[in-house]
Symmetry: C2
Subunit: 342 residues, 2 copies
């Protein structure tokens, strides 16, 4: 177990920072750890193959070892302000435990934060990965110029994070920002969360694959049917087909955009924020889904119409994320620097 994690290291020159934090992004297949200074400069980044799918104790041991090694190595960069850990699950703010999630077997009702703190002897902030990504984008990405933003992350599932006044809005128990489970179609496809027609059922990678198979089964999309039958078929394949002009694939991204637009319109009418950011792997298909998305927001939100690019006064910006998969890593480090509990 000890030497299992393959490491790729990226060294960056040390800045003159007065302190730094360590951000951790615990994904499905790998664990990434970065030292980031107060100015947002990446000091060093490590990637190991110990993702959350591996046994819990193994993941925690590897994580703590890597954090300690990195902290020791970066001692010259100043004081370690703390450690932030982004995790793909629902976190109970108070207890620092994960609530049940399909991807988190064995982590439920286990005192994750406490256990990491005990091993490291330092303060640890545990955070939902989409919340961490939203904070990362606010700090160093698309949202640098605003104090408030809402981010939707389109990955295997759909996550969300809300930043108000520069800080993550956690809500009462840390469960705020579950934007992927807002209803789009009241009688739509059932969702793992218990609801039907959630945004996640239309705008996640899994949903794109499901919709593609449904379309293929309909018999009127032969090219899509051929591709969908192959091994390794994924939402990226559908995106490539849409880009190449396949109308069935384009139609699927139209549905992605429409669902996102319905939810964004509701968020704009609710929050009236200066910025909404779309991130996650599926956001790479931005060109394919954003026209339908923006058309839908315009049609469904008079608050957007009153504040979009054609209007006078402050603007509502709907944009792509800028930090890619590093958003959560930076956000986790930022959390530690902010000293937020949770």
């Amino acid at each position: 177990m000890k030497e299992k994690g393959k490491r790729k290291k990226e060294k960056v020159k040390s800045p003159d920072a007065s302190g730094f934090a360590i951000g951790v992004d615990l994904g499905g297949t790998n664990l990434r750890i970065a030292a980031v200074d107060e100015g947002g400069k990446l000091l060093e980044k490590i990637t190991t193959d110990t993702g959350i799918a591996r046994p819990r104790d193994e993941v925690i041991a590897e994580m703590c070892r890597a954090i300690q090694a990195l902290a020791k190595k970066r001692k010259a960069d100043g004081k370690l302000a703390g450690v932030g850990v982004g995790v793909p699950g629902i976190i109970d703010l108070k207890s620092g435990m994960l609530r049940g999630s399909p991807n988190l077997a064995g982590w439920h009702d286990y005192p994750v934060r406490e256990e990491i703190e005990r091993r490291l002897g330092t303060r640890v902030m545990l955070e939902n990965d989409a919340n961490a990504a939203a904070l990362g984008e606010k700090w160093l990405g698309a949202g640098r110029e605003v104090d408030d933003l809402c981010m939707i992350t389109l990955g295997t599932g759909v996550g969300g994070g809300i930043v108000l006044g520069g800080r993550i809005w956690h809500g009462m128990t840390g469960m705020a920002g579950e934007l992927g489970h807002i209803t789009v179609e009241p009688e739509g496809p059932p969702c793992g969360c218990g609801n039907r027609g959630c945004l996640e059922q239309f705008a996640s990678a899994k949903a794109i694959e499901r919709m593609s198979r449904e379309t293929a089964a309909g018999g009127n999309a032969p090219a899509l049917a051929r591709v969908a039958a192959k091994r390794g078929f994924s939402s990226e394949t559908v995106c490539q087909m849409a880009e190449a002009g396949d109308s069935a694939a384009q139609e699927i991204f139209g549905r992605v955009g429409r669902a996102l637009g319905i939810v964004l319109a509701g968020l704009v009418n609710t929050f009236n924020l200066p910025m909404y950011v779309i991130g996650g792997g599926v956001a790479d298909a931005w060109e394919m889904f954003s026209p339908a998305m923006l058309e839908e927001v315009r049609r469904r939100s008079f608050v957007y119409v009153a504040t979009c690019s054609g209007a006078s006064g402050p603007k509502t910006v709907i944009t792509r994320a800028r930090l890619g998969s590093d958003a959560g890593l930076f956000g986790a480090a930022r959390l530690a620097l902010q000293g937020l509990r949770g």
Copy 2:
């Protein structure tokens, strides 16, 4: 014009407060003005028949006269902290102007706040009436024990107000909280806001009347058809019929509850607040729509399920408003006491 406003006065004994504010609620048919002390005690309330449907200059003149008379009269109660005015319209925070609204002909692009301030020589806070009601409920009503709440007001239309950290969440331009225009049914009835299937199209008094007429026209609800054909038919009539056991009328309130539940579930998943308050005249039909509403929230929000009365830890409360039509009046006074601009 001078002596037109009929006044009903309610005197209350003066407290030992160090100051007071004047709250104004400018409704469709009347204008209500109250002096409220810092402890939330109502010192005096005046109602005139000069509502926002009357000519703009007449309304403003009457309002200012009544405010001045009340301020003079309550001089012994301490310093006048300011004046808050709740208006049924979208307010531009920065300019203090009203944005267009079907009920506000002649008020659009007119510097309402500036004009009132000029006449009174005192600071004036102009606020959307649903926002003011939400703040009133937080201060003295259902939300006294919480810092954060979301309120939906079911009146002729559907409004909303969000209170975070004890203050109204205005958003970037003061347009936040337009919860009545969140999409419930993407292909539902067209709404005046430009969208389709807004909450307002299912949960407002007007929507209840429309749905009743539609049901009556269907031919399978003879009792409802008889009532709907009469003069003075209103949502209250439908509520009385539902209470008396008419299944068609009950079905309509089931639809009201379902739509509210869909929107509330999204709000719970988004905000994770301790409290959601339902107010406005239609909330009097609480017993008729709340079972369907709560069932829908439970089905559609795992955040609610994790925090509802059966779960351990902090609770999500969904409840009726407590202050009735005075919520906006108290909230407007509170705004002035908080010294919030807008």
